[in-house]
Amino acid sequence: MPDFPGKGLVKGLGVTFKTMLEGAVTVQYPKEKEAPPTRARGVIALKEENCTVCMLCARECPDWCIYIEGHKEKKPPRRAGGKPRTVSALDRFDIDYALCMYCGICVEVCPFDALFWSPEYEYSESRIADLLHDKDKLGEWMATVPEPPPLEAGAQKKK
């Protein structure tokens, strides 16, 4: 475009006109939903059989929103004639989402892959106490955890 006085003004009008025709970026939330990215930090899911009640997550949690209780159980020995094994059983695993700040440290420190991020975000409650998710509810979130991304070529398989 050649230079003329008021060129910038005309350009500005062009920008607004073009934007008007392009359509809005708004997502009308309750009616239409945006799929969150697969690695979004929506809610933390618990895979109960992996948990060994090691308490690492509870201790690393910056705002102490994880409550764990467990007890020791005697399980039959692995080989015949051996001593009975001592196994930790999970009685209570609660995450208080009213306190959680979604830092993800618990997921990072878990040595046995018992905690996972799920992109699910629609779990608001009208009572603040209902934001305390117990281990059953945390277990239900496991269904929403996406598959881990495929390993890169040549990467070492986890044992």
């Binding site: 003004l9 009008l13 607004t16 006109f17 934007t19 392009e22 009308q28």
Partner: protein
Amino acid sequence: MLAIDLVYWQATALKTIIVLAIIPGSAVVIGYVFLLKMMAHMQSRLGPMEPGGFHGWFQLIGDGIKFIQKEDIIPSKADRRVFALAPVVVLASTFLIYVVVPAGPRLVVEDLDVGIFFALAVSSLSVIGVLMAGWASANKYALLGALRAAGQLIAYELPLVLAVVGVVIQAGTMSLNGIVHAQADGEIFGFGAFGNPFVITQIVGFVLFIVAAQAELTQTPFDMPVAESELVAGYMTEYSGFRFLFFFMAEFGTAFALAAIAATLYLGGWYVPGVTGGLRDFAGPLVLGGKIMLVAFFIFWMRFTFPRFREDQLQTIAWKYLIPISLVNIVATGVLKVAF
């Protein structure tokens, strides 16, 4: 042709009711179409979507209902009577403009010989209302805003009037209906199929008129008097409830009225090629409405695009550029009128 013959008072009552309905109606239409929807889309938003079910069409009516329910607050130090009267004065000036705007050959409240002169005279009445509002509010922002508004409205009144003079010279009449007829019957170099809308010959005047109208409406590039970031809301700062509603309706009603005048002066008003005879009275309002929306689109397009002028820039544009250009336009129009 309408077969009903109304006596004088019936006709007057009917006209009054129609004009009374046009002001809030046009304010709602302009506000919804441009302020809510067009601005939203120019900013990649959707605007209101819920009220009324379909794309939030009820939003402004709901806002109006809310305003009416509000408490009538008058500041204790305010000059009560002037404070209460100011919005009425501003709205009245909007009402009076409609007296002369023709929506068809016979659809005009009063076809005055000095039509456009009358329209511009009453449209500048709003300055008095604005000054009254600012003075009576007993608020420094209101007073500053009112004085700025007065300075601006007076400065831009001149190019507005001078731009119109070109049209009046070319049409040879000040009656708005006469101007429409002049455009409908005119021809461009012997080609008269679609008349001679003055926007072609008076393009300079049209641009001047739109810019000056923008300033008269204190719309965004010229919104120094109501600049939110420094003056709260200028002369409207102390107003709430239905008194604010009056100012709001006056703002958008005047936008509609000035767009109507621009459409009449430059785009041929109710005239559309091919429609003749009694049909004009029925097609007229629709045609005029379409043209008004076109002009209003330009006005609001500028409003949503340009940033605000500084106070000195604002006065410079009026006095150093618009007024000299409009004077040259008048001289050129006069010379060409005599020459051809």
